[in-house]
């Protein structure tokens, strides 16, 4: 069942191999997007892959953009129940929507808030049981909002990111971040985005099509996978370019109608059945499919 849902994005990221050891451990992934095309679907896909039953990953999700309910609904449609995972301590959610670092004139600098956040993450990782400590993924939704929370102190944000990067070598965890590239494209010295792009091992860019809007393609995705040097030899840089479309897939399988109320990806048990017109039908809910139209 897992193999059916693999798609080109997973293959480009190297997630099509065995889940253990986690292919992204120790690596930094940067997702870039813009106003016209949002790149958060890549984040959701990575959450789903990390929380698959065959892997034993723990995700620390630092959310600045959306509350827990938003991700819960989306991932439930993808077949992953975040509430259960949160109870099982596999998905740890830090809600940072209202984080606002104190002003500079108050004496305490803006970095105070970010330092506290880093300490919280470190404490969480250290508090994990021994076997789970090896497979931690830190996801930060929206670095641009971290900057806003730090009142524009991008130096502090960079320090915070460097500290998180140090965790990848110390604990072998992976760091996945999302940023908006078009904010920095007009700046003279876009230090933050350049440093992040330099640090990143995998760079995923979501852009609109240059020809404009289309009904069957939502945008194009470029995946740049810089080779790692600590696996068997050094593999060169790989660039993949796709057109992608996100849609909801409905298909008829069995004669049971399910409403998406709490079914886990392992069991696919159905809670309610409905009789409509004397016939029963079954629908599965969204899955993400990436259509391969270009080859890079």
């Amino acid at each position: 069942m897992e193999n059916q849902n693999l798609n080109l994005l997973d293959r480009a990221l190297g997630l099509d191999g065995p889940s253990e050891p986690w292919p992204l451990s120790g690596r930094v992934v940067l997702i870039e997007d813009c106003v016209e095309t949002s790149g958060s679907f890549v984040l959701h896909q990575l959450v789903k892959r990390s929380l698959s039953p065959t892997s034993s990953n723990v995700i620390i999700f630092v959310a600045f953009a959306n509350p827990f309910s938003h991700y819960d609904r989306i991932l439930r449609k993808l077949g992953c129940n975040l509430v259960t995972q949160r109870d099982n301590k596999r998905f740890i959610f830090f809600d940072m929507l209202m984080l606002r670092c104190p002003d500079v004139d108050e004496g305490k600098s803006s970095e105070g808030g970010l330092v506290l956040l880093y300490e919280k993450i470190l404490k969480t990782i250290c508090g994990l049981p021994g076997d789970k400590k090896d497979y931690v993924t830190i996801m930060i939704d929206d670095i641009s909002l971290v900057e806003v929370a730090a009142n524009g102190g991008s130096d502090y944000v960079l320090d915070f990111l460097h500290y998180c990067h140090a965790l990848t070598s110390e604990f072998d965890c992976s760091l996945i971040t999302l940023n908006h590239e078009d904010i920095y494209s007009s700046m003279e010295r876009p230090t933050l985005i350049l440093q992040m792009e330099y640090l990143a091992d995998i760079l995923i860019k979501a852009e609109p099509l240059s020809t404009g809007l289309a009904t069957d393609v939502h945008g194009q995705l470029t995946v740049l996978n810089k080779g790692t040097s600590h696996r068997l030899g050094r593999s060169g840089n790989k660039i993949h370019n796709f057109h992608y479309k996100l849609y909801v897939v409905l298909w008829r399988k069995k004669l049971v109608i399910s409403i998406d109320k709490g079914y886990s990806s392992e069991k696919r048990s159905f809670r309610r059945t409905y009789h409509v017109n004397g016939r029963l039908g079954f629908w599965n809910l969204n899955t993400l499919c990436v259509t391969h139209l270009l080859n890079g």
């Binding site: 679907f41 929507l97 909002l145 904010i183 393609v217 945008g219 909801v248 409905l250």
Partner: protein, 487 residues
């Protein structure tokens, strides 16, 4: 007629209507087989509406609609209220026999839509349920709600709407006025912040809902296309107070007699809103010109949103916040970029967990480019307004109805709460017209994005207009297009 294969749904519709008029008493059921490779969903909707109209005029089973299996794989968000209402009428009357394919895919929608319509009718008027567990309030502009029908018809509660102003023309005020009036007419509390000296005075310029007499004489183009003209006249003779132009509006009326209970009203700019609507309890006006920073406004917003917290019992009244020209130069905070950004971020965080919609207008030309992008990223729904110059001959050649147009509206981003699937709207560029200087009308200007595999180009009519940030760039683009067309 039976078993005929039609290539285009328009032709099929015409045939069905002709058949219905010629054989009013026959019990024969004309079957429609549609297997076109790329059938846009709107054509399916129009076709099914026309077939329903045919059926309603007769009392015998009229139409069977067989949908190609492709349709079943479309996202249910775009198979929106429209198709589900048509289907629920079909099932209610029990006269139409619908093909098995449609029957098996529809139950999921109809079981949801029946629940949705039951829930929404019991709730407070002005709030409608939509997909993905979101609730919607009307934007005050009927055309905008209609184009957002796919989303759920209006602005989702808990979202942040940003309107990018054009520094040369105050058209964003029209949108804001409609938004505020709609909220007041529904009895929804309103918080209004403005950089002007007397924010309360602005309330005197809010439009009032149009009187019924005018509604009847408005000619709607969409209604003609669906062939529902006879049904409309039929209703008029039945003496209903509220003739429905749009078949979709039927579900939006809670009680047919009372104009005020519409989900979305038509607003008449010549008639000011009656004073009893803005009592002190419901409307709070805040001036932001003289405050040193945005802390006071933030406190006002926080206390307002605290009254509209979202809890599981969703019967609370929805609230609306309208902030006009947030970075206006006369305000002291206008050069504090990060202050404003963190205000918007905290406002967004607060509104996500409450039953309110926030509309913020701002002139992007006063912000730096990267700040403008940050503001755009923070918005859930992003609209931009541009003015068009009077007496421009080249534009008059390109755009029909140029004399009535006052400006252009571009939808750049739509709210995607609780879902990751982006929405390609059929129309993103609209012309703003003030019909008879009274009614705000939006007309679609661009063509829908074409399907890649169908191969057809922009073809016959219409110029594809793309609005950019400033009016001047846009005018230059139009000039370039006109030059190419002249060649």
């Amino acid at each position: 007629m039976r078993g005929s294969l039609f290539e285009s749904p328009a032709w099929c519709r015409v045939q069905c209507q002709r058949h219905c008029s010629q054989t009013p008493h026959k019990k024969e059921v004309p079957c429609v087989f549609g297997r076109p490779p790329q059938l846009p969903i709107t054509k399916i909707i129009r076709l099914s509406a026309a077939l329903l109209a045919c059926h309603r005029r007769r009392s015998t089973p009229t139409a069977a609609l067989s949908l190609p299996p492709r349709v079943c794989s479309l996202p249910p968000e775009s198979l929106s209220c429209r198709l589900s209402t048509i289907y629920s009428w079909v099932r209610k009357t029990k006269l139409c026999s619908v093909d098995a394919a449609m029957a098996t895919t529809k139950p999921r929608l109809s079981s949801f839509s029946r629940n949705l319509s039951a829930v929404s009718s019991s709730q407070t008027p002005g709030v409608k349920c939509g997909p993905n567990g979101t609730m919607f309030v009307s934007s005050g502009i009927a055309d905008l709600d209609r184009y957002f029908e796919i989303l759920g018809g209006g602005f989702p509660l808990g979202s942040l709407v940003m309107v990018m102003e054009d520094a040369e023309a105050p058209h964003h005020m029209l949108l804001l006025r409609n938004f505020m009036s709609q909220g007041l007419v529904h009895g929804q509390p309103l918080l209004y912040a403005s950089p002007s000296k007397d924010p309360r005075g602005f309330l005197g310029t809010l439009p009032s809902p149009a009187s019924l007499k005018h509604d009847k004489s408005r000619d709607r183009e969409s209604e003609q296309e669906k062939g529902l003209r006879i049904a409309w006249q039929y209703k008029k003779y039945m003496g209903e107070n509220q003739p429905n132009f749009d078949s979709h509006r039927v579900t939006h009326h809670y009680s047919g007699a009372d104009n005020k209970q519409d989900y979305c009203n038509e607003f008449d700019f010549r008639k000011p809103l009656e004073r009893h609507y803005f009592t002190r309890q419901r409307v709070n006006c805040v001036g932001i010109q003289h405050s040193k920073n945005l802390a006071a406004l933030q406190e006002h917003c926080a206390s307002f949103l605290a009254q509209h917290q979202r809890n599981d019992g969703s019967s609370a009244l929805a609230g609306r916040i309208a902030i006009q020209s947030l970075c206006a130069p006369q305000c002291e905070h206008s050069n504090m970029d990060w202050e404003m950004l963190s205000f918007i971020k905290s406002l967004k965080g607060m509104v996500r967990s409450s039953n309110a919609v926030v509309v913020i207008t701002f002139p992007p030309s006063l912000l730096s480019l990267s700040s403008t992008k940050r503001w755009q990223h923070m918005a859930d729904t992003l609209l931009s307004v541009a003015a068009i110059p009077d007496e421009d001959k080249e534009l008059a050649k390109l755009l029909s109805g140029y004399q009535d147009m006052v400006g252009l509206l571009n939808v750049q981003k739509v709210a995607r709460l609780n879902t990751q699937v982006p929405l390609i709207l059929e129309a993103t560029t609209f012309s703003i017209k003030l019909q008879k200087r009274r009614f705000l009308v939006l007309e679609c200007l661009n063509q829908a994005p074409v399907d890649g595999s169908s191969g057809s180009s922009y073809g016959t009519s219409g110029v594809f207009l793309q609005l950019s940030l400033t009016q001047k760039c846009y005018i230059e683009q139009l000039r370039m297009v006109s030059k190419e067309m002249d060649r």
